[in-house]
């Protein structure tokens, strides 16, 4: 490697670093450092921990679903996290979905099916605000991709409630949470020890619930993550071998050119 190449390589590297630093700066908001977790879905071979995501679904349905919709997830998606189709159908049947109009032109309610989206707790945004002290609980389908830090942010927020520091005014009906932009959040601390009773017998500490529901929301936001990682590894191996072959072909062709 000539000195010139080393110089070029270092400039390229410097450029990459500056670019990534600016991207990180552009993305970073205020707030304390995230409570980074060692998620099972991290890294190029990451997968969802089925048991964890199922527990997360339980937390969502028993705790979050009271206020938050999950409109891009259907009951029919639940088998992807390890529920059997019969279980998914049984879960769906616990809910009602509006259908119609029938032959009389009337809308009617029927038990939900696999093709139905998770039901929204409120008829519309205004109804949601009216029930939540003016605040709008966001749809959670994409929350793990719509916030800087993703699942780590969701977890940090859920575990981020504390008393407001000295001299910090918290408005009526609001809660202090250092991880929330502006530090005042309308949502009351959603997870507490034994707030749910896990079907699989796992001890339902607040921390456990926060982790589980964050993992579930990551799955809800990026349901094709495992597919992506699997396809990616195969594609990568193929492409690297192909590129090496291209390079060998090039070398063979160029051998007589010097």
């Amino acid at each position: 490697m000539s000195l010139n190449m080393i110089k070029k390589a270092s400039v390229t590297l410097a450029a990459t670093l500056v670019l990534s630093a600016s991207a990180a700066l552009a993305a970073g908001g205020g707030g304390p450092a995230l409570k980074t977790q060692n998620w099972s879905f991290n890294g190029p071979t990451g997968t969802f921990d089925r048991a964890q995501v199922q527990r997360g679904y339980q937390v969502y349905s028993e705790v979050c679903a009271g206020c938050h919709s999950l409109k891009y997830v259907r009951f029919g998606n639940l088998p992807a996290i390890g529920f059997s189709e019969a279980e998914a159908k049984a879960i769906a049947a616990e809910f009602e979905a509006e259908d119609g109009p029938d032959d009389d032109g009337e809308m009617f309610m029927r038990p939900a099916r696999l093709s139905d989206a998770m039901p929204s707790p409120f008829a519309n945004d205004k109804a949601a605000r009216a029930s939540n002290n003016g605040a709008l609980p966001p749809d959670l389908s994409l929350i793990a991709k719509a916030r800087v830090g993703g699942a780590d942010y969701v977890y940090s927020l859920l575990m981020g409630y504390s008393d407001a520091p000295e001299g910090h005014e918290v408005a009526e009906g609001m809660n202090y949470n250092a991880w929330f932009p502006g530090t005042q959040i309308a949502m009351a601390p959603p997870v507490s020890d034994d707030g749910v009773e896990y079907a699989d017998g796992t001890a339902a500490t607040a921390d456990q619930q926060a982790k589980d529901v964050s993992a579930f929301l990551m799955w809800a936001a990026e349901p094709k993550l495992e597919d992506r990682h699997r396809t990616g590894l195969k594609t990568m191996i193929f492409l690297i071998i192909l590129t090496i072959l291209f390079w060998l072909v090039k070398r063979r062709v160029w051998k007589d050119a010097h």
């Binding site: 991207a23 700066l25 552009a26 993305a27």
Partner: protein
Amino acid sequence: MSNPGVTTQVMQWVETRLPIFSFINHSVGTEYPTPRNLNYWWSLGSIAGVALVLQIVTGIVLAMHYVPHADMAFDSVEHIMRDVNYGWMLRYMHANGASLFFVAVYIHMFRGLYFGSYKAPRELLWWFGILIFLAMMATAFMGYVLPWGQMSFWGATVITNMFTAIPVVGEAVTTWLWGGYSVAGPTLQRFFSLHYLLPFVIFALMFLHLWALHTSKSNNPLGIDVKSEKDTLPFHPYFTTKDLVGFGVFFVILAYWVFFNPNYMGHPDNYIPANPLVTPPHIVPEWYFLPFYAILRAVPDKLGGVVLMLGAILILFVIPWLDTSRVRSATFRPVYKGFFWIFVVNGLVLGWIGANPPEGAYIIIGRIATAYYFAHFILVMPIVGWFEKPKPLPDSIAAAVLGDDSAKEAN
């Protein structure tokens, strides 16, 4: 007629009616003489071409599933991500492919700057390149609006608002662009239409770019003219195989982003549906616009900022005449070479400034870097060209690459 590629009777039949085979052969085949010393920096042009084709192919399929309507666009993108077979892959390839297209084109442009590829007789070739770059910027900007997320909406609002800076008719022009009195459904629909149109304009411009290239032929790292056949190699098989290596590396890098880090170059806010009532705390364009965004904000005056930003690109049109050096390649220009790398670093600084809020030291650094950006073209290029003493140029490409003996043999 000697057309080495035309071997069968069928090919001969076609060839006499439409000389497509000799055309290909003269364009990328054995009949296209290419300087033998092209290094891998010269691969970025064909890589950019591959990136364009990839964008068009993935884009056409995405358009089969996407709905350009303010109430349905965001949902339809999620439909692509969740329900369309391999929709996630198509969308991530399209989004990250756009970024890598810009990476390829930026390296391609800096390569041109370093080796003096814009100088006579390649001025028109350079111009078509700038036109492609401008069309790419418009296409990418409108493409980013289509998912109709928060950054789509507010990015569109900020950028289209620049047109209000035009004296007298600014407001009217902006209303006309929006199709209303703010960014809304009609804006989205026309952006979709134009986003589908412009890639084909780019394709046509690329064709003109290649036509000009094949007329003046490739520049090379030594920046000296081809003098004899000894200086060249046929494009095929030498540069077809060399370009394949570049394509392989390009796809490996693309695959990394698509499969293992697909949202890094996007912005989380774009997974929040567009909401005209809530402004995101930081409105940032995609990374490839950041240097120009920094120049836009370097001037406290709106019109001034817009003029300067536009000028930052338009000035590229006149650099064949701003550069007074008779030597093309910076390899033989010891002073200019240093200034080139300062310019590269300055560009990165501008990108960094563009990513940060315009406050405090960022403003001052942004202004200095903006001033330097223009000074590089207006002052450095002519003055260094006048006073610099270039290193001696080799007699020929063959002499430099193969050694003096074989070059003499050729003569």
